[in-house]
Symmetry: C2
Subunit: 145 residues, 2 copies
Amino acid sequence: MPDLSHGDDAAAVNSLRSAVMRLSRRLKHQRVDESLSPTEMSVLGTLARCGSATPGELARKEHVQPPSMTRIVALLEAKGLVRLDPHPEDRRQKVVTQTERAEAMLEQSRRKRNAWLAGLAADLDEDEWERLRAAAPVLEKLAHL
Amino acid sequence: MPDLSHGDDAAAVNSLRSAVMRLSRRLKHQRVDESLSPTEMSVLGTLARCGSATPGELARKEHVQPPSMTRIVALLEAKGLVRLDPHPEDRRQKVVTQTERAEAMLEQSRRKRNAWLAGLAADLDEDEWERLRAAAPVLEKLAHL
DNA sequence: CATGTTCTTTAGCTTAACTCATTACTCTCG
DNA sequence: CGAGAGTAATGAGTTAAGCTAAAGAACATG
């Protein structure tokens, strides 16, 4: 249980908010792959982990409103990275599944990401990396809390 | 020096990217103060730390293009949170300083943020908070690297 | 001085989200 | 069984927050 009277928590929240906003701005432009927005990348990543999901589930995971996810899924489908099938039990829903092409592109983007990583490596020491690794799951938790 | 051959780094980068994008979307909506965008808040925070700065400096710190900062500063000025003075040595530049009103509003928003924090406190244990505190400065570094 | 460079600003555009409303389907309860 | 309530995806229009290109003013340097 965090000590709320401790000023450091408030300061950390401040600092996190600033850093997250600035970082997200950078990430928007520093795309590992042109032609694919960060949210689209994120959706592909989610699909890679979960296998397949309905648009609604994806919207909840990405913290985006359903209409936005409809649009994103449509774009991904147009790029051949995703397939839409009817839901087996509920004909209102659809099932979004990534194609083999998406796997190939994820692999390719993983390579590019490693290059970017190498660039960062020069500026962060091992202790800093360790902190990032440790915090990553907490940030994920925070993101969909 | 990070071990790039170690797959965990790539995974962590993936995870960080996703989490940062989702978090930034949440932060956009979960404003501690209506009527003030996250970037505007961030600028006020920077000014609180640095005293005062030129629009150009602010743009570099926030990783925003100069025209965007012009707009942001203009909005802050319209809300009476910031004052623009001529630069003492270079008449091309201006000096942005926060007003007493900004300090009051920062204090008020600090209170609201603590309430939000209290909400989160229930869902994070002390170890997780510790990781966030530890990672915050690294994220800041990353943000303006 | 003249030319080029830097800082801010203006104007117009793009993107990626949002809200509201609609359609299609499912579920529940009388 | 059928009517009304609820939920899923989507269509249309809007908004927000950044961007680029270009202009104007002030500085710096040959």
